[in-house]
Amino acid sequence: MIRKRGLNNETPGIKKKEPISSISLLLTITISTFVAMYVIAMIVWGGGFLNPQQFLDIFNNNAFLIVLACGLTVVMIAAGIDISVGGITALVTMACVVYLDDKGGSVIGSMAMALGIGLAFGLFQGFLIAYLDIQPFIVTLAGMFFAKGMTTIVSVAPRTATNEAFMAIKNFRIVIPGIGSYGKAGNFIPARIEPGVIVALVVVAAIFVVLKWTRFGRNLYAVGGNHQSARMLGINVKRTKFFSYLLCGLLAGIGGYVYLLHTGAGNASNATAAEMQAIASAIIGGSLLTGGVGSVIGTLFGVLSLKTISNIVIASGLREPYWQSITTGLMLCFFILLQSVILAVREKGGIITMLPRWLIPKGRKTADNEQ
């Protein structure tokens, strides 16, 4: 067998092209768009974009979003949705600050608390969705309401952490040797990243491994692709769904703590609309809400693209906040349409099949005619 396959590969003249999978294609588009965008920004605006610190600041400011978006990617691959992550983030920041300052808690305790809150939400939501067959949108919407309400019950006024041990970790910076910029006085300022970035990158790597090489990860794709055939293959669909929400809740807890490490403040308005940004990042990164398609590396680049666009908007002099939302909307529109067109072309054999009947030239074969 092995020899035969070897011979086949060496057959001269016939080069069989492996068709690139949908996941890899969408991933390639995301990464190349991000790189192209950044290179163009470097050439046109130069300045800040040439400064490595500004690039790393995208990570510093959005480490929590990367973690949240990873969780959403997992849920979206299994054809679900979780919109409670932003609320959980706000609750975790508030609860941890109150615990650290008022109750004299330790840093380790606050970390455990963040994980516990996330796990509790994931456990409850996962149970309701997977085992009681309730629509995920409603359950996680209620989760969001509950988390936001609990945040104001814990404390209405915004709080800032003062715990010394916590502040030491918060103000800790990791210096990256060899990279940096020159200040006005000509002195070398090395580039720095926050501890949250390391957490985010570890999470990305861990989820990547889980999705690619574990049974649970492969089950997620199977369940998201077609849950009926997944059940017939002997996959425990309910358990897989349950664990996807559990993982998402856990990651929301971690994301909340990373947010706290960045700002050091508990506030009910923390991470407002973060769930929508996380969903948008996952979509730009090539995940489909219909399930079965998605990769965590794409999601990472989705977050980076989203934030680079914001930087470009600011650099190009449009300082009013509403321009950012409008460009984000346009970018989403572009990516969503691009994905839709690409998938239609690949699956149905041409862009023409997507158009309504009256737009199609006469005599062309359409999906409708074939059926």
Binding site: V156, I336, Q371
Partner: protein, 356 residues
């Protein structure tokens, strides 16, 4: 009578009616005065009805109208439009802009409303095109307008939060002289009746369900599925315009950041509490409207219990979860099994005693 109850329990309206009953019974036990109605004279010298029931019905007007449109979209497109809040901001801004550039008369108000309708229908058609032609899921497609909608509203009025004042607007937002019921309630009743009559006497309702239940077979039966989906989104656009105009008339200004904030979530919730499947297909408009009133009744009850307005969300979440858990298919099946078990055992017992 028993037959009627059996039918009711099996129907789609069982969950919303049960939830409404729950809220009412809770309030009766808590404080019977909650339901009191008073006739008073308001600042303009009109004789008006006041009381918690009126404020529930009045306050839920925008939500009820949006829930009607959302039900149709959910039924046909098997997804939800999350941009309705942003779209009401746009429609309201257009309404205010037209009003501010003209002297306010009844004709101008009508014209402004039609302009708001047109813009809202256009934005609805944008979402609808993405969903029906490009086959993008409704939630994702409307995420675009959800992100960009309120900034567009900001741009329409040049970044200000303008106010409009006119007694004529008061007729829409609060009371018409001589009629003791707030006008928004009347608008909901009239609009709801028109929509249900249209659904009853045209094929719209049937076709919408057909597309939602099985798009392919609907198409094979000659229904234009693309057009049907687009149409539901345009109807939602009309609902958005009405809701936006009511809200602007009610408070007399437009703040693009805060107008009907988070209403999309409440509208989807109303559809779900109304016993409609969020995955499309069969629908019940009256269920969704009841759902909207349940949400408002819940909020008013919590306010009456002196819960802080910021904390209301947490309690609301608990009640929502309780309602959907009771209505979930798994729990229902379990309940039926339990009832059968108990019933059979009792039957056996009676048989045994009779034999003895």
């Amino acid at each position: 009578m028993i037959q009627f109850f059996k039918k009711l329990v099996k129907s789609q309206l069982a969950i919303p009616l049960f939830a409404l009953l729950l809220v009412i019974v809770f309030n009766v036990i808590r404080d019977i005065g909650f339901f009191s109605l008073n006739i008073t004279t308001n600042n303009d010298g009109n004789i008006v009805l006041t009381g918690n029931i009126i404020s529930i019905l009045n306050g839920a007007s925008e939500l009820a109208i949006l829930a009607i449109g959302m039900t149709l979209v959910t039924a046909a497109a098997r997804g939800q439009d999350i941009s309705v809040g942003a779209a009401t901001a746009i429609a309201g801004s257009v309404f205010v802009r037209v009003l501010r550039e003209n002297e306010i008369t009844m004709v101008v108000i009508l014209f402004a409303f039609l302009a708001a309708c047109l813009v809202a229908i256009l934005f609805g058609a944008f979402n609808g095109t993405l969903v029906s032609v490009f086959k993008i899921q409704a939630m994702i497609a409307s995420l675009i307008l959800f992100t960009a909608g309120r900034p567009i509203a900001y741009w329409i009025n040049g970044g200000a939060t303008p106010t409009v004042e006119s007694p004529l607007l008061g007729y829409i937002g609060s009371f018409i002289p001589g009629i003791p019921i707030p006008t928004p309630i009347i608008i909901v009743v009239v609009f709801g009746t028109i929509v249900s009559l249209v659904l009853k006497f045209t094929n719209l309702g049937l076709y919408t369900q057909a597309v939602g239940i099985n798009e392919k077979s609907a198409r094979l039966n000659g229904i234009n599925a693309v057009l049907m989906k687009l149409l539901t989104f345009m109807i939602l656009g009309v609902c958005v315009a009405i809701a936006g105009c009511i809200n602007v008339s009610r408070i007399g200004l437009i703040n693009h950041e805060t107008i009907l904030l988070d209403i999309e979530m409440d509208a989807i919730l109303a559809v779900a509490i109304g016993g409609n499947a969020l995955s499309g297909g069969k629908f019940s408009l009256i269920g969704s409207v009841i759902g909207a009133y349940i949400i408002q009744a819940l909020t008013i009850t919590l306010y009456a219990m002196k819960v802080a307005s910021t904390d209301v969300k947490a309690f609301k979440a608990i009640v929502i979860i309780a309602i959907v858990v009771i209505g979930s298919p798994t729990v229902k099946k379990f309940a039926v099994q339990l009832r059968d078990k108990l019933f059979k055992r009792r039957k056996k017992m009676t048989e045994i005693t009779e034999n003895l």
